[in-house]
């Protein structure tokens, strides 16, 4: 805890309930500034709920969340987001009945945000420039995912919560998405939920493994890649690790 100033986000034993169900049973994690931290775990372990709890969409009942030195648990979601957190939800939740331009424009917090950031955004996702005027429902899955990430970049966000960006994407698009996330992480901090272990292991610097609503393991990604046993225990046998590619 000596380098606390370096932590942009600290989650301290939060408990979140959805209806009657106790989903998070004491999640703790810290995210270093300008790093990529990956949340790993099986389906239904509570990864998405962790992101939503940080953002206040499913407010935790107990525990403490510190963002940028301020306690944010119990604040309303739009207040938390406005403090500088961008959110890329799973299933590419772009606004399908809005155009690409409007999907970006709606994320502005100050007038002119989009104009200031457009060069950066189109640098990451050149396709979006071509699609600018099209309605969201005309976009392919990969394009929608890129738009969802781009939308989180319009405002001045210091932390991005990205939920399964590779879900359902073709391999070539996964490459492109990884490249984009690596590039944007130069300027911001990223907390990433990712089932695709290849992508997670290549992008992540730190990792947390969540199981049954608890954080069970954490460390640096380099150490995890070596630890086949841990991977099999918590992430299932289906995960194939190709550590050599790293």
């Amino acid at each position: 805890m000596s380098d606390e100033n370096n932590h942009i986000l600290t989650v301290d034993t939060i408990h979140t309930y959805i209806g009657q169900f106790h989903i998070l049973e004491g999640i703790s994690l810290t995210v270093r500034s300008n790093s990529i931290t990956v949340l790993l775990g099986r389906n239904g372990a509570g990864k998405t709920t962790t992101l939503k709890s940080i953002l206040g969409l499913t407010p935790p009942r107990e525990g403490k969340i510190t963002f940028n030195g301020k306690e944010i648990q119990g604040k309303r979601a739009f207040d938390i987001a406005a403090m500088g957190i961008g959110y890329v939800p799973e299933h590419r939740a772009i606004f399908r009945n809005l155009t690409v331009a409007e999907n970006l424009r709606i994320a502005e917090r100050k007038k002119g945000d989009l104009e200031r950031r457009s060069e950066f955004i189109f640098g990451l996702f050149p396709d979006l420039k071509r699609l600018y005027k099209l309605p969201g429902n005309h976009l392919s899955g990969g394009q929608q995912q890129m738009l969802a990430v781009a939308r989180a970049l319009v405002a001045d966000n210091v932390l991005l919560l990205i939920d399964e960006p590779s879900e359902g994407l073709a391999p070539i698009l996964i490459e492109q998405m990884m490249e984009a996330i690596r590039e944007l992480s130069a300027a911001t901090t990223v907390l990433l939920v990712e089932q695709n272990f290849i992508m997670a292991s290549q992008l992540g610097e730190d990792y947390y493994i969540i199981d049954d609503g608890k954080t069970v393991h954490h460390g640096t990604m380099d150490a995890l890649v070596e630890d086949q046993e841990l991977i099999h225990q918590y992430l299932g046998a289906s995960v194939r690790v190709r550590g050599g590619e790293r």
Partner: protein, 497 residues
């Protein structure tokens, strides 16, 4: 390729327009020009009215999943408010300070919160303390309005309508400001007492955010200024309004309608509906109950009688105008359209309905609020995650919906009877319109309204021609709804999910 995407996106609207065109040609041929044009125009008038009620319903349902059963009452309140303001605004001016003052007090709830949160109240006594404050508020409120002659105020316009007396003579049967001032002041105190109860003294679990406190202060100051102004112009106001020209007065009553309806909607959303977003069923019960309360209140004030508001001078000169341009100069009651003599005021209603549709479409298409509404209809959570205060947007949209309904009510007042059952009538048609068009779609509401209005008009025409019971025209709307629902369960332009 482009044509194909256009067809895929707009097939319903294009099919609808095509069908209407075919039916029109058939109607023109078989009915003859005059009856056809007359029936169509009547249908369009009805369609405009249905749209005015349905627009708010569909917006509010689409964004917030709230079925507002008091939407018809907002239409009715608009009609009554317009009739009152146009005929004799004494009632509205007399009531304004009495309504604004307690709302100003209520709005102070968040402002008061930091002052009372540290009161040392044992936990088991907190509920009792709140109840005590509410009882106190009721007592103070009762004392405040004790002896106000509400019926007398309400009758001022009634008398003007019934016996066509000079409204100016009826304009000031009010107590002077010297003895009146204590009423709004007491009501303000009553509002403050309820605000204290709402702030839950001693309860540290209630969270109030900084921006809420700031907004609360601004709102209180604005409302206080308005209440003070209302109290001061209570007596000169009605006289000044009555001395205006009739047309100006009518335009003003349209504006008053939007303000009354919108303001009422904002208050209803903030106080009654927003605590119930987690319990959708209760919202239905609350809004339904509200509709009953409003209908009863109106009967207490004006008796269950139908009133006829006189038309503004621009539509009241005897005689027929040869065309729309001639009407513009002459202000005649009727105007010649394609050989049919048609009341000019009904043309105004059609135009008002079209303007409303266009205005709404422009707001939805080109403003930031519209963008947020369209996005929120699809995914509220994501809108919030972008840092947008969705609750505030809800209040604005609800107010927009009720404001439009009230504007429709005022527009309708000069040509349909102003009566306590008009709320129910139009609510029913509004719901059928929205169900046909598809919940959440404004274009759908317009299409549904057109379909219903024309069905009613042509149903009436057929019933008359073949001497059938007029009930078939009423039944036709429900039959159309059934057919549409069988073919397209989500409505013609509903969300496909």
């Amino acid at each position: 390729m482009k044509l194909r995407t256009f067809w895929r996106e707009n097939s319903t609207v294009v099919t609808f327009i095509g069908l209407l065109a075919i039916l029109s040609v058939l109607g023109w041929i078989f009915m003859g020009q005059k009856p056809f044009v007359r029936t169509t125009l009547s249908g369009l008038t009805l369609a405009a009215l249905y749209f005015m009620v349905a627009a708010g319903l569909t917006l509010v349902f689409g964004l917030m999943d709230v079925l507002n059963f008091s939407q018809g009452s907002m239409f009715m309140i608009g009609a009554y408010a317009g009739w009152q303001f146009y005929t004799n605004p004494t009632f509205l001016f007399g009531l304004a300070p009495l309504i604004l003052a307690p709302i100003a007090g209520l709005a102070a709830s968040q402002w008061i919160h930091p002052l009372v949160v540290n009161w040392k109240v044992p936990e088991n006594r907190q509920k009792e303390l709140q109840a005590l404050f509410i009882v106190l508020a009721l007592i103070v409120g009762l004392v405040a309005v004790w002896g106000v002659d509400f019926r007398g105020l309400a009758e001022t316009a009634m008398v003007a309508t019934m016996v066509a007396a000079d409204p100016l003579a009826e304009a000031t049967p009010q107590e002077p400001l010297g003895s009146f001032w204590f009423r709004p002041v007491l009501l303000l105190i009553a509002g403050l007492l309820i605000a204290v109860a709402q702030a839950r003294p001693g309860d540290k679990t209630k969270v109030v955010y900084k921006d809420m406190i700031r907004n609360s202060r601004i709102l209180v100051v604005v409302l206080l200024v308005l209440a003070l102004g209302a109290a001061l112009i209570r007596e000169p106001g009605p006289i000044a309004v009555l001395q205006m020209g009739g047309n100006l007065r009518f335009v003003l009553s349209l504006i008053v309608g939007i303000l009354v309806g919108g303001g009422l909607g904002a208050v209803i959303e903030a106080t009654l509906i927003s605590p119930l977003y987690v319990r959708p069923l209760y919202q239905i019960i609350v809004t339904m109950g509200l509709a009953f309360v409003i209908a009863e209140l109106i009967q207490v004030l004006w008796d269950p009688l139908p009133y006829a508001m006189s038309r503004p001078p621009a539509f009241a000169q005897p005689g027929k105008a040869e065309n729309i341009l001639a009407w513009f100069r002459g202000g005649n009651t009727t105007v010649d359209i394609l050989g049919v003599t048609f009341p000019s005021y009904r043309i105004f209603i059609i135009v008002l309905g079209v303007l409303m549709f266009v205005g709404l479409a422009v707001i939805l298409r080109y403003t930031r609020l519209g963008m947020i509404i369209r996005a929120g209809v699809q995914d509220r959570e994501m809108v919030e995650a972008l840092g947008i205060n969705v609750r505030r947007v809800f209040t604005m949209v609800f107010a927009l919906g009720t404001g439009l309904a009230a504007l429709g009510g005022i527009g309708a007042a000069p040509f349909i009877p102003v009566e306590p059952i008009m709320g129910d009538k139009f609510l029913m048609q509004g719901f059928i319109t929205v169900v046909i068009g598809g919940m959440g779609s404004t274009t759908g509401a317009a299409v549904g309204a057109l379909l219903l209005g024309l069905a009613r008009a042509f149903g009436d025409y057929l019933a008359l021609k073949f001497s059938l019971t007029p009930a078939i025209s009423e039944a036709s709307t429900v039959i159309i709804m059934a057919i549409v629902l069988l073919a397209r369960p989500a409505g013609l332009l509903g969300r496909k999910e």
